[in-house]
């Protein structure tokens, strides 16, 4: 119970966000109408993706200073799960954009930025496949990961702020915060984000443990197996 309480918390928070997200009170706005509820599902994807990429870059730095294979496994699995959340974020966003902006892929800097950032992390995986030797692969991909991280931030969080964007909260648009007068949306959005972050971390730790077991199996000598 002491170690897995956060997994239960994650599930409970998700259940809460799904129930309250679909039944709770939302402000009545033109154009968005009830699709505003997508904010409980679309925004947490990006929070989770960012958290996972952050974990990945922290463990890449750790790998460079320690050289432990386990640190490299955490870094790569964080990217793997982060990409999945990024794809879900893009899909939920496209669904939303189709209703409110009339087009699943309008030419918006934030959309293009996140698509390009995904390409960057896919390039990280391609780089890993291009290297055969384990230690070299871990070290060089860690370097690329650290190099790419600040550029990802510029692409996804700084550039859309300076240009015209359809997204709320950037390019002079107002965020949803000012419509949320009684804080009922925040009461769902923040728990939902925390819940998804916990689930994402859980997925990552599962994949990390599988990879570690595989590594131990591969590196075990015949004598220890017999």
């Amino acid at each position: 119970m002491r170690t897995y309480w956060w997994k239960i918390l994650g599930i409970l928070l998700l259940l809460y966000s799904i129930i309250m997200g679909l039944l709770g009170h939302v402000p009545a706005l033109p154009i968005v109408h009830e699709t505003i509820r997508n904010v409980y599902f679309h925004v947490p994807m990006w929070f989770t993706m960012f958290t996972l990429y952050l974990i990945s870059v922290v463990y890449s730095v750790k790998y460079l200073s320690s050289g432990r294979p386990a640190d490299d496994f955490v870094a790569v699995e964080s990217v793997n799960v982060g990409i999945v959340f990024c794809i879900f974020g893009l899909l939920s966003g496209m669904l939303w954009a189709n209703f409110t902006w009339g087009d699943p892929w309008p030419n918006d800097p934030k959309l293009n930025g996140s698509a390009i950032a995904t390409l960057m992390y896919l390039a990280y995986l391609v780089l890993r496949n291009a290297l055969e030797e384990e230690q070299k692969r871990a070290r060089i991909s860690a370097i690329y990961n650290i190099f790419a991280f600040p550029i990802m931030i510029v692409l996804m969080y700084i550039l859309p702020k300076t240009t015209d964007s359809l997204h709320p909260g950037s390019g002079g648009n107002s965020g949803f915060g000012q419509f949320d007068l009684d804080g009922s949306m925040k009461a769902v959005l923040y728990p939902a984000s925390l819940g998804w972050i916990l689930i994402g971390t859980w997925l990552m730790s599962l994949r990390f443990r599988i990879r570690k077991l595989e590594y131990q199996n591969d590196s075990a000598t015949p004598e220890t197996l017999a």
Binding site: L64, L127, A130, L131, I140, I143, F147
Partner: protein, 219 residues
């Protein structure tokens, strides 16, 4: 030997090597001029937005080709020798500075040739030139580090493109926006934001390269 002195002698060595053969620089210059000419022949006259985008695409590919070679041209034995006489920081710093110089030369010539052959009214030529110079410095900083990474990974040029293009896109977007502002002759204060982010991005990439290269160098 102090870092500064090491960097100085390494840059001197790079320049000397280049001056003896003049192979790379002539090849790249020919590449730029012929690409500009092909674009001119294909388009004859274009609207300003296309003119701007075309210029940056020409410069992008020229710089990938120019910098791609920076770690490949030297043999493993010679690189090992540098490692024994100079620190890793000095090596990457000298490479970045040398590539910046090459890129400054390259982009100035490209700019000159492009604007002579492909006439297009520029609202604020000085600001445009400043953006071109800032952009070439940024290209050099990013591509040097990525070419170092791809050289370690068996150095095929596909990997170089796959690794560097997503990373260069934010820089390219900022450059296209700032240079478009300069072209339209907007007030200079309209481009301050872009110039600031560009400068910050350049400083960050150089700083990260300096921090990370010592790990890349070891084998």
């Amino acid at each position: 030997m102090s870092l500064l002195k090491e960097v100085k002698s390494l840059i001197h060595k790079d320049m000397l090597l280049e001056w003896r053969t003049k192979y790379a620089i002539n090849g790249i210059l020919l590449y730029v001029v012929s690409t500009v000419f092909v674009c001119y022949q294909a388009f004859k006259s274009v609207d300003p937005a296309t003119w701007n985008a075309l210029f940056w695409i020409v410069l992008l590919f020229a710089s990938v080709n120019a910098i791609n070679k920076s770690f490949v041209q030297e043999s493993r034995g010679r690189q090992l020798y540098y490692y024994t006489v100079a620190s890793a920081k000095a090596v990457i710093l000298s490479k970045i500075l040398y590539n910046m110089m090459v890129m400054l030369l390259l982009s100035s010539i490209a700019y000159l040739v492009y604007s002579i052959i492909f006439q297009n009214p520029l609202g604020d030529p000085l600001l445009y030139l400043a953006v071109v110079l800032l952009g070439s410095v940024g290209f050099a900083a990013v591509f040097t580090m990525v070419s170092g990474i791809s050289a370690k990974a068996g150095n095929n040029s596909t990997l170089m493109a796959v690794l560097s293009f997503p990373i260069i896109i934010p820089l390219l977007l900022l450059l296209i926006k700032a240079s478009k502002n300069a072209m339209d002759g907007l007030d200079r204060s309209a481009s301050y934001d872009e110039l600031l982010v560009l400068t910050a991005l350049n400083i960050i990439t150089v700083a990260i390269s300096l921090l990370l290269f010592p790990y890349l160098w070891r084998d």
